[in-house]
Symmetry: C2
Subunit: 449 residues, 2 copies
């Protein structure tokens, strides 16, 4: 790794491409929402890139890749920086490649679209809905997150109750990437090959184009239903997820006292009740109401799709936005990504939770069924105690995708993917792409460069 | 029950409504596809209605209902007569009410439509697709079957892998029925109340209008894939059903030698192989191909949606059309409707099947997951042996919806539904609607009339 590089030289060689070495901007462009984790905060808060670049075309990306290889500069790709595990934080400095100016929708047709990585998700949907389609899934950071960033660093979101994870076969169809080989080139990955870049934090190529599958767009009614009892609310969530006859997009259940953190929604959240934040097809609202009634729920908020589009979406209180709202009130809170898989396990863990843990669920399709998962809030004390909480849950059979680590393997994947590692060795022989994030990859020793 | 009625009088009093007492037409209008069952054949082949009526409006249905109550005439409602359990066979003669002339689409909008019961399913879809929608599910008799007939006597079909059964909450929204009370009237059932008429064989009111939920219309690619091994084909079927990222509508797996019965498809069905007959979104064809490859399948037939619409759909080789094709070759064959629920149970029963039983599967959503079900073909010997086969399967935990019985309760429901019975007692106090089909209902003694 070249530590003596004069970035003035680099900037000169990148003539025509926008760059910045402004310290404040670099700070902003070096970080993400890692600060939800006190553990990551300690480890990542001082990491900084040395130069940020803003290419607008694949040709410019190629030019940047060539330069990085020439000078052996680390290169970390970044979308909107809405991740939470430091996915785009440059551990070894170097160049930050911000994709936000590569934001063209190349084509859009029923069922499929081709986009540049910097297209923002909500902006994409606005265009796609003109022809009756929308993204199959999107995270709670939908308004600002980019499609490329979600593919590179995300996994699930609203819509996952229908379409599963972005990594499920069929959701991502094709990617073009720029490699960091001795002679950087553009290659295309199709079908199952796209796994090499999915949730790889940009360690396995610089995505310049993506072909994604779409979902038919429904008018999504946004609804809050409240329940006296948490497990009844959870069972309602499972039942709605399993109701083939009721089309939905978001099923998020929040145990009291989490609703207290939703300041903007207090009018709809009676004290002591547990709430469901939901997006349901307007067409199916009548049978949906019957289901709420069956579970003794009460609808306290209901906005048509067109009304909902004007204000803040309920989406922005679910998934990891729940953590955001809770931390706005109490910065001592952190979270754990948890798959409960069954309501029985959930009930057991709910009963054990005490004051230290607050549970919310987001239902998503995992393999053959919709399962309760969620990002439980934790009152943080020490790293040791957090790890104990993780172990206790794992002993009960829950799966924890640990968000307090910054490598791919230590989070949700749990193990080294030899195929991804081999792919990286091939397309990034100098180990320049987002170094330090793929634990399974051993960087070649300096001298061999 | 009035047995001395002079039907000439009835015809006169129905002036303005088309009727027939032509013996050949009455024979045709009295029967359905009950003859797939040798047991039902013995019991039902000689049942005949005395007069068939062809109302075109709800007002005419009311007029017919009044007359039936006045003369205490049995009334049996009939759609296209594509059922298999004698649903519309008039056990006690009387009037056959053919709904086929009540075939108007009242309105059609995104997500929901309102139709008269005699609208044919394929014809409906042709109209609905003009605005991008289609039926959520339809049986293999789709081309001729009516929507009212399916609601009254059917349950599942293509599309059920996504939307479950027609009885699943949300699929049927509202019905209007004419009652057979002392003063027949029109009433509306909404939401969960529609259960009273679902799969009730017309014993609980004469449906005159239905509001149904729709599905977004995809261009459905029709595909045959063949496999060396049946259980691999079955596992592929489960995997496709569970693939959130691949949109599909029909997943039907046929064990060798069933494919031999598909005369028209022989070019695509290599000797000794097991086949999958499939409908998959054209948009998702690429990832679908990857899935076929993963299970070592070979695609031997693939038609785009527009090509498929021109010829015979693969749908017409699945569900109970399989039985039809098999019986065209060997009339000694009959069938059993079987839910296996798991691949483990399927494998066990497949290994026990021998030559007597041939398995095909149609995957459908049942509660929280897609499960293998199907209408296994049976080489018929005796009723006793058939019942033994049923028992053997039930002992293994499979669920058999017995298609060799003609009451609602003895088939799939297995038990008397007190709510349906109470509803019938209220709206049909003389027990005139399709008498003999609801076992839980006791007809009032004659003298009390």
């Amino acid at each position: 790794m070249n530590t003596d590089i004069n970035y003035q030289t680099v900037v000169r060689e990148l003539a025509g491409i926008e760059t910045t070495s402004d310290r404040d901007r670099l700070t902003k462009l070096s970080l993400d929402y890692y600060h939800f984790s006190p553990i990551l905060t300690d480890k990542l808060q001082n990491k900084r890139g040395d130069l940020a670049v803003f290419p607008t075309t694949e040709a410019e990306v190629l030019q940047i890749a060539r330069l990085c290889v020439k000078y052996k500069l680390p290169l970390t790709v970044r979308g909107a920086g809405t991740g939470n595990y430091g996915q785009c934080i440059p551990l070894e400095g170097g160049i930050i490649l911000d994709i936000s100016k590569m934001n063209q929708i190349k084509w859009l047709k029923p069922g499929i679209a081709c986009v540049e990585p910097g297209v923002k998700m909500a902006a994409f949907d606005k265009k796609a809905r003109e022809i009756g389609w929308e993204l199959r899934m999107a995270p709670s950071t939908y308004r600002t997150a980019t499609i490329g960033g979600f593919v590179g660093g995300g996994s699930v979101g609203m819509g996952s109750v229908n379409y599963g994870q972005i990594s499920d076969r069929g959701n991502l169809r094709r990617v073009r990437i720029v490699t960091m080989e001795e002679q950087p080139q553009v290659i295309e990955l199709q079908g199952d090959e796209v796994k090499n870049v999915l949730h790889a934090y940009g360690t396995t190529g610089i995505i310049t184009e993506l072909e994604i599958s779409l979902a038919p767009a429904y008018p999504w009614q946004e609804v809050i239903a409240v329940f006296d009892d948490f497990m009844t609310a959870a069972k309602f969530g499972q039942a709605l997820s399993d109701s083939g006859g009721i089309v939905k997009k978001l099923v998020s259940i929040h145990a009291d006292p989490i609703p207290r953190y939703f300041t903007a929604l207090q009018n709809y959240l009676p004290q002591g009740k547990h709430c469901a934040l939901l997006m349901v097809s307007e067409y199916d609202f009548a049978p949906f109401q019957d289901l709420v009634k069956e579970y003794q729920g009460e609808i306290t908020y209901s906005k048509s799709a067109s009304e909902a589009l004007k204000g803040t979406s309920l989406l922005e209180f679910t998934w990891n936005h729940t953590t955001l709202h809770a931390r706005n009130v109490d910065t001592n809170l952190t979270y754990l990504q948890t798959f409960y898989f069954t309501l029985e396990r959930l009930e057991k863990l709910y009963q054990q939770a005490g004051d230290e843990i607050m549970i919310h669920l987001e239902f998503l399709r995992a393999g053959d069924k919709a399962v309760p998962a969620g990002l439980q809030l934790i009152r943080y004390t020490t790293e040791a105690r957090l790890n104990e909480i993780i172990r206790d849950r794992e002993v009960e059979g829950a799966f924890i995708a640990n968000p307090h680590v910054f490598t791919i393997e230590d989070g949700g994947n749990k193990q080294i993917d030899p195929q991804k590692v081999a792919f990286k060795q091939k397309i990034d022989p100098y180990g320049l792409l987002n170094p330090g994030k793929m634990r399974g990859y051993q960087k070649p020793v300096e001298s061999s460069l």
